[in-house]
């Protein structure tokens, strides 16, 4: 096989040197009764050219590229400068393992340290890790972390306006723990968290409150208003973010009282790619650092006093602490973290602001056009960044089908998640869209309504 250097003569020579008749002799330790007695039913190896053809056909069977899509809901198409893909294809980045040997891994380690710094600035918190699997698992990890920090408290309040996949993943992770999960309703008019309801639900037994910002309906929460009662109850405030670009314009959650800010950083130049690989992020206050899961790099010096970086706080990790670790995570999303870091570095201060402002302007344009469309209306009055829930004159499922026939995927039919919202469409607008795209959407919506 062409990937395997040692060919027949080499293998023979090695066996001869070892005094063995054949490779089979090396498998003497595998009891014959558990040996597979037939060849694997896997087709014979394909030629590279054939595989390129096959995968091109498979890719073409996706009609993803034929429609103008306004899907967001946790995965946002943003333009990724080409430098990212060029750099992450350096073998020194993409083939390397976790940087356990710092002397020969400073590239990865410095990148981690820079990413941590970016995330602390963006979230307004003191420390950050260098990725967990994705936004949902970051949220679940944050809840588990809060559970450890608030020993004795056994309730977790989660916003109703949490991405249902995030909620589902939190449920999976906490199902067998001694944790009671309650939901804080959203105000049906504004789409924001019902703070009065929150206050009612809060008590001394609440370990943490999970809020999404902007929330799953695209509505920007009033974090300060939420943080106040949470603090009063002595609970931890977890803010989860699925559209990380919003951090460029919205006040840092850490500055508004969040204790843990987590979420999905896919927006930082990572392709939507049918759902992964993405990267979850987590940041928190300095005093919680020993409960933060995931890889963390720290600054130190080498034997000559030169600055360098190492993985640190290893006593949190499973390879040292085993079952008492802060998390079971080992392999994380390092290369995706690197992509995001390159994205952040390439856009930088000015670029991030510019992209974020473009998103805002594009959505504002669309919001206005949709408001003027007979039968359609913003589902909530709360402010939005680049995502909007739209109430439709017909079931959203039909609107989606009708628009698709016009080459537009107008967003997500929220009925897929919540039968009570079968008339609502959730759409996202990023800088990948032009006025022509928006106008096409508006036209399609108009025609479908008629």
């Amino acid at each position: 096989m062409r990937f395997i250097p040692n060919n027949e003569p080499a293998r023979k020579a090695m066996l001869a040197e070892m005094g063995l008749p054949d490779i089979e002799a090396l498998f003497a330790g595998v009891p014959s009764e558990v040996r597979l007695q037939r060849p694997l039913q896997v087709p014979p190896g394909m030629a590279e050219e054939e595989q390129l053809q096959l995968f091109s056909q498979l890719a073409a069977r996706n009609e993803a590229q034929q429609v103008v899509s306004f899907l967001g809901a946790g995965s946002y198409p943003h333009y990724a400068p080409l430098v990212i893909d060029s750099l992450i294809q350096r073998a020194e980045f993409f083939t390397a393992y976790t940087p356990y040997q710092p002397e020969i891994s400073q590239g990865t380690l410095q990148a981690i340290f820079e990413f941590q710094t970016f995330m602390t600035h963006l979230t307004g918190l003191d420390i950050a890790n260098a990725s967990v699997y994705d936004g949902a698992s970051a949220t679940a990890e944050a809840v588990l972390m809060a559970d450890r920090l608030a020993r004795g408290r056994s309730r977790v309040l989660l916003t109703q306006a949490l991405h249902p996949h995030y909620r589902r993943v939190v449920d999976t992770h906490t199902h067998y723990l001694d944790v009671q999960r309650d939901t804080v309703p959203a105000d049906p008019a504004t789409g924001r968290m019902d703070v009065a309801a929150l206050e009612r639900l809060l008590d001394e037994d609440v370990a943490c409150v999970v809020v999404q910002q902007p929330n799953v309906y695209g509505v920007i929460e009033d974090l300060a208003a939420i943080a106040a009662p949470v603090k009063r109850a002595g609970a931890l405030l977890i803010v989860t973010v699925s559209e990380a670009l919003s951090l460029a314009l919205l006040e840092a959650p850490g500055a508004l009282g969040a204790d843990i800010v987590c979420g999905e950083a896919q927006s930082f130049g990572v392709p939507v790619a049918y759902g992964g690989p993405y990267l979850g992020f987590m940041a928190t206050r300095d005093e919680h650092k020993r409960q933060l899961p995931g890889r963390i790099a720290g600054e130190t010096v080498d034997a000559d006093g030169q600055r360098g970086y190492v993985l640190t706080l290893a006593t949190r990790e499973q390879h040292i602490r085993r079952e008492r670790a802060t998390s079971n995570i080992c392999t994380n999303e390092n290369l995706v973290m690197l992509s995001a870091l390159i994205y952040l570095t390439t856009l930088g201060r000015a670029g991030l602001l510019q992209v974020a402002r473009q998103n805002v302007s594009l959505l504002a344009y669309l919001r206005e056009r949709i408001a003027a469309l007979p039968g359609y209306a913003a589902a909530f009055s709360g402010p939005s960044f680049n995502e909007l829930a739209v109430r439709c004159p017909r079931p959203a499922a039909e609107v989606v089908q009708g628009c698709l026939r016009r080459g537009v995927l107008p967003g997500l039919d929220l009925g897929r998640w919540d039968a009570g919202r079968a008339d609502t469409l959730l759409l996202a607008v990023t800088e990948t869209k032009t006025r022509a795209h928006l106008d096409a959407l508006v036209n399609a919506l108009r025609e479908v309504a008629a």
């Binding site: 558990v34 009609e63 294809q89 393992y97 970086y309 000015a350 670029g351 402002r357 800088e431």
Partner: protein, 506 residues
């Protein structure tokens, strides 16, 4: 010449943090101009609290500075492309370029995970095909590709065991884990709400059946077993182990991280395992990326299948329209592990790898992986202490027995000096059951010449240690940095850059 910071650093250029660059001008990326009216954020988002800092503290580099910054960083790393990277348990093999190309096809990368199934038939077919192939490879009838890495696969499997037992009305308290297991095993069991009980290994590194039989009782949910285990040994008593566990109503979890030894040779689904994960970033060549992304698909028996995560990819035979779809209807499912469909891009690569290898190629892969490891064992047995008498497969673990005779060096010293010889060191001090473990896994990707070069380097280092132990104890000398002070990093954590320099220790 005051302020002259020039140092002869050869091929390594000193590189500041991006945050230390001078304040910048234009962004390193140029955006398309907006063609709708620009609206002020405060006006567009009334009632939203906006950032007060204007991101002032973030760096601003030109495009070329970005390229140079990260190119310089890359040069401080080593890669499997440049030399053997014999990290035991990590299966550092060649990452075929073809896989990188197909995973980047725009039709795949532009598919949004919430698109209606009809628009993403290609992606669904990829997931379906991969699932079918991995079923054949593992010998299990069902599986899920959703877990994003091995540890998440473990959690998935352990949760499924838990769900199965609860469905049967049981709530068991303990999970057994051998002392030689990877740390993720006990950690995953813990997150699933189990208490962990350690199972002792015999001196030869395999499970102590007597101890197992004793530990396995009605309050034990099952056993998490790595097979071949972390010493590279196939559990000879695997059938009996299964019987012991099953007899008490327990389930057997298989950590498949070491599957590279036995593809086409032995299938966990055939010998009593109930559920397992694979590390596609090990056995199936998806790149490690400096620590992910990976994928840890989970496969299981028909009994456990109802508990697999949702959604599942289903193929509908016959009829027109969509042939593949996501099925959410699984009332007994443990739920979701990842936001969407797992690390889809990694799954594309793994499928591509399996198609390139073919059935024969996969078998050959395991054979040569085992050959290479045993060749190293054979060639190094006279100078390093092999930790077990038992036959080993794809990796070999040496202990530090006798190592100190060479000028008092330790496993760490040997490992660090290997850096100077152009190798990434093997895994050290794992498994915990072997004193001063040096765990070497060459994989099938290494040519004999590179194995020989490694053997020569070990010989040379031992000779150096006899002659000049300080040289080895202070290695590496030829890396961009010398040994780093990890204690300082942990005691006085500096975890982000600040303009004032290191924040005070806390």
């Amino acid at each position: 010449m005051s302020g002259n910071h020039a140092r002869p650093t050869g091929f390594f250029q000193p590189e500041p943090l991006s945050f230390e660059y001078p304040p910048g001008g234009e962004p390193g990326a140029k955006l398309r101009a907006l063609d709708v009216p620009e609206v002020e954020p405060a006006q567009a988002m009334p009632g939203a609290a906006l950032r007060s800092d204007g991101l002032r503290t973030l760096p601003q580099l030109s495009e070329f500075e970005v390229i140079r910054h990260f190119t310089r960083l890359s040069k401080l790393n080593v890669s499997i492309d440049a030399a053997m990277y014999p990290l035991g348990s990590c299966t550092m093999k060649y990452n075929p370029r073809l896989n990188e190309v197909v995973a980047r096809l725009p039709g795949l990368t532009e598919a949004h995970p919430l698109m209606p199934d009809a628009l993403v038939q290609g992606s669904l077919e990829i997931l379906w095909r991969l699932t079918e192939l991995l079923k054949e490879i593992t010998g299990f009838p069902a599986g899920s590709l959703q877990p994003a890495a091995g540890a998440q696969g473990e959690l998935t499997g352990v949760l499924m065991i838990r769900a199965r037992q609860e469905a049967k009305g049981e709530r068991r308290r303990y999970m057994l884990v051998p002392d030689s297991a990877h740390g993720t095993n006990p950690a995953s069991a813990h997150i699933a709400g189990f208490e962990v009980r350690e199972v002792k290994s015999l001196p030869d590194g395999t499970v102590d059946l007597a101890h197992l039989a004793e530990a396995m009782d009605a309050d034990v949910a099952g056993l998490m077993l790595t097979n071949p285990n972390t010493l590279g040994i196939f559990e000879r008593g695997i059938r009996q182990i299964a019987d012991i566990v099953h007899a008490k109503g327990g389930y057997l979890y298989c950590d498949g991280a070491n599957m590279n030894a036995v593809v086409g040779i032995s299938r966990p689904g055939d010998y009593g395992m109930d559920v397992m994960h694979l590390n596609l970033h090990k056995t199936f060549s998806t790149p490690h990326g400096g620590g992910g992304p990976g994928a840890g698909p989970c496969f299981c028996t028909a009994e456990l299948a109802p508990h697999l995560p949702v959604p599942r990819v289903v193929k509908e035979d016959g009829g027109e329209g969509a042939r593949f779809r996501l099925d959410w209807d699984a009332p007994q499912s443990i739920g979701k592990l990842s936001t969407f469909n797992g690390n889809a891009g990694i799954l594309v690569r793994a499928l591509s790898y399996i198609l390139a290898m073919g059935g024969d190629g996969l078998h050959e892969m395991s054979e040569v992986a085992v050959l290479n490891a045993n060749y190293l064992r054979h060639r190094l047995a006279d100078v390093l202490h092999v930790s077990t008498e038992a036959p080993t497969l794809h990796e070999v673990v040496f202990s530090d027995h006798g190592l100190a005779d060479h000028g008092g060096i330790t496993t760490l010293d040997l490992a660090k000096r290997l850096i100077d010889y152009g190798f990434h060191p093997p895994t050290t001090y794992f498994p915990l059951t072997v004193h001063g473990a040096l765990m070497v896994e060459p994989t099938e990707s290494e040519p004999r010449a590179e194995l020989d070069r490694f053997v020569d380097a070990i010989h040379a280092i031992l000779a150096e240690a006899d002659r000049d132990p300080e040289l080895v104890k202070t290695a590496p000398h030829l890396a961009p940095l010398r040994r780093l002070d990890e204690t300082r990093a942990a005691r006085q954590p500096v975890l982000r850059w600040t303009p004032q320099g290191s924040p005070p220790a806390k």
